[in-house]
């Protein structure tokens, strides 16, 4: 979509009178001035220099809303038909700016301060103390290392999902039933899953899975006893919820491959094994990459199951970064340190994903093709 000019090209006669221009400009700058005034009043009242003391910052929110509305209206008044087009994406942009960009900037301020919400002292700027504390925090590094393990588990999930998708795409009876059954785990809330599986079915004394493990010869099954097994259990539970997701995407990709290609390969004498590796799998690469990328993104948010089943234990072995920060806040209500950890995590994610996409790009479009 990088062609010049609009895909939907409209020629309209917009007769914008100077009076209308003036009104539009008034709207645009008036809204901005109103918002600025709101913020100014708020700042002054925080400092105690304004006669009325406001309890909340809601005035700023209203200021922003008024400005956003004025800006949208001014677009139409000032630029006519062009402005109406801008109106399609302007609300979205304003919403995201208010909800992401502003809080992110705000969080930078918090990250370099010592701010315990429980204590009455309020915020204290403490420079790089948080960074130093993070550097020496073995639990945070441990959580990061766990995230690498959790992310690597995606390879196995992908293999299983691909296998299931292949079976679902082949000629089977009751395909719709199996598709619905396979999809259901994705619909369940992670909290309920952590209760159903993590707490109830893996219960050592009477859980059905523990019973099964005993029958299979594991004398004293304990799914959260040792760090490795606990991590594995978390991985399995998370995989259980999200394998359907990858499976559906791969299934859609498989169904989009024209049958002729595979038939041609068959005619040329390729067995099913070679047919898969030399025809189906390469054709599925773009879909696979998308599925894996989205799965990685979701995996990096992994927290609900860990918080509810192990709370990070034993000894932080199952902690993800999110669950670690969650507990960091819950236990010590230290907003400043938690925010710094989160920001470092975000930076690491952005770097990792960029590298991943560059590598994929290099691999999918080799240089000599360009």
């Amino acid at each position: 979509m990088s062609t010049d000019g609009d895909l939907l090209h409209v020629v309209t006669l917009d007769n914008i009178t100077p009076q209308r221009m003036r009104f539009g400009n008034l709207l645009k700058w008036g809204g901005l001035a109103f918002m600025a005034a709101c913020f100014l009043v708020l700042t002054l009242s925080e400092l105690g220099a304004f006669p009325i003391a406001f309890e909340t910052w809601r005035l700023g929110l209203f200021g922003y809303l008024v400005w956003a509305t004025c800006l949208c209206a001014a677009q139409v008044v000032l630029r006519g038909e062009q402005g109406k087009r801008t109106l399609f994406i302007l609300p979205g942009v304003l919403f995201v700016v208010a909800m992401v960009v502003f809080p992110l900037l705000f969080s930078l301020g918090i990250a370099f301060s010592d701010w315990n919400l429980a204590s009455p002292d309020g915020r204290k700027f403490n420079g790089l103390d948080n960074v130093r504390q993070m550097w020496g925090d073995p639990f945070y590094w441990n959580a990061l290392k766990n995230m690498v393990w959790y992310t690597l588990a995606i390879i196995v999930e992908y293999a299983i999902a691909f296998g299931l998708a292949l079976i679902l795409a082949s000629e089977i009876r009751a395909r719709k039933f199996f598709r619905v059954a396979f999809l259901l785990p994705l619909m369940l809330s992670p909290v309920a899953v952590s209760w159903m599986i993590g707490k109830s079915m893996l219960e050592v004394r009477f859980g059905p899975l523990a019973r099964l493990a005993r029958t299979l010869g594991w004398d004293s099954p304990s799914f959260f006893g040792s760090p490795e097994i606990a991590r594995l259990t978390i991985m399995v539970m998370d995989a259980w919820t999200f394998i359907p997701f990858m499976m559906i995407m791969i299934l859609a990709g498989l169904q989009a491959i024209p049958k002729e290609v595979q038939e041609a390969a068959k005619v040329d004498g390729a067995g099913p094994w070679r047919n898969f590796w030399e025809v189906t799998f390469p054709l599925m690469l773009p879909v696979s990459i998308t599925a894996i990328l989205i799965r990685i993104i979701f995996k990096l948010k992994l927290a609900d199951i860990i918080i509810n089943v192990t709370a990070g234990g034993p000894g932080g072995a199952t902690d993800s970064v999110t669950s670690f920060i969650f507990r960091e806040y819950r236990d010590r209500s230290n907003v400043g340190y938690g925010t710094l950890l989160a920001i470092i995590y975000l930076i690491l994610i952005v770097i990792a994903i960029t590298i991943f996409m560059k590598l994929v790009d290099r691999w999918m479009n080799p240089r000599y093709l360009k």
Binding site: S189, M249, I294, T322
Partner: protein, 306 residues
């Protein structure tokens, strides 16, 4: 047995049939095994909610065979046949959480679908320039929200909401949930709109509709299946959301997942009550999953296949 069979399947054909049969057996074996893996936890939850303590301890599995179903679990929620007519604080609590979840999930999904489809339509039809930002940059600006882990926003929002007095309100949750599902909606809808030929709108414009008129009366109805798909995916994600709800709500706006999670913290777990509560939390989505499966698959597939 005097007459001999004249027409024989050749040996290679018979071998093929045996091979075909064994392949079928393996395939259906895998399918059934995975179905059991997927459905057993759901079955377990449902049956556990009808058990009483000895049944849980003995690990009884099949109702009416291993044990007689009792309404104990549902009674503790105030939802069993004999308690449904009576006053029950637990039930009121439960209904309040259920209602909170419903409202926040529905409103945020609707908001995300409205904002998201507008953005997606704009990006698929027009070229924008905001300073240095061109269309690909704007797309990236929206879609990159997807990699933003919730934990980065959680603590700043905690502070901001506290100052804005939005902590523990449904509106606060709705706004945040809208934000989290917005990129997914845009991603799905951009695909939908790109597959609709521009000639349709051109015809509408020639006939005198404005750009917005064409969007609302021509394009939205055509893209309705995609909209429904995006809406349902958002619904699933927001209904199940736990992290923000756990941090930002305490009493008034607490949602169902938080209620489920807070039950597990106590010492002795009431397995049957927990099972009933979990079942109530997952049932709406199971129903949606079964009834609207087509749309969910469509939604997830749309981004994958170009």
């Amino acid at each position: 047995m005097s007459d001999t069979q004249i027409f024989h399947d050749s040996r290679s054909d018979l071998a093929y049939k045996a091979g075909w049969l064994s392949k079928r057996v393996v395939i259906y074996g895998i399918l059934i095994l995975w179905t059991v893996i997927c459905l057993f936890p759901i079955y377990w939850t449902l049956t556990t909610s009808f058990k009483i303590a000895p049944d849980v301890m003995k690990g009884n599995m099949i109702p009416w065979v291993d044990y007689t179903p009792q309404w104990r679990g549902w009674k503790s929620l105030g939802l069993s046949p004999d308690t449904i007519g009576m006053e029950s604080t637990v039930r009121e609590e439960f209904l309040k959480r259920f209602w909170n979840s419903t409202i926040s999930a529905l409103c945020s999904s609707a908001l995300a679908v409205i904002i998201g489809s507008m953005v997606a339509y704009g990006l698929s039809r027009f070229n924008y320039r905001f300073g240095f930002m061109r269309n690909p940059d704007i797309s990236f600006f929206f879609l990159s929200q997807l990699i933003l882990p919730p934990v980065v926003l959680a603590l700043p929002f905690l502070v901001l909401y506290k100052e804005l007095a939005l902590l523990d309100t449904r509106i606060g949750l709705i706004l945040l949930y809208t934000l989290t599902v917005l990129p997914i909606v845009i991603w799905i809808m951009r695909d939908q709109f790109q597959s609709i030929p521009v000639e349709l709108e051109e015809a509408a414009l020639v006939d005198g509709l404005s750009v917005w008129g064409a969007f609302l009366t021509i394009i939205v109805p055509i893209a309705l299946p995609g909209l429904v798909a995006a809406f349902i995916l958002s619904l699933v994600l927001t209904w199940n959301e736990y992290f923000f709800a756990a941090l930002l709500t305490s009493t008034d706006a607490k949602t169902l997942p938080v209620m489920v999670a807070s039950q597990t913290g106590s010492q002795g777990i009431n397995w049957w009550a927990m099972a009933a509560l979990s079942w109530a939390a997952i049932m709406p989505l199971i129903v949606i999953g079964i009834v609207l499966e087509r749309y969910i698959i469509k939604g997830m597939a749309s981004g994958a296949v170009k």
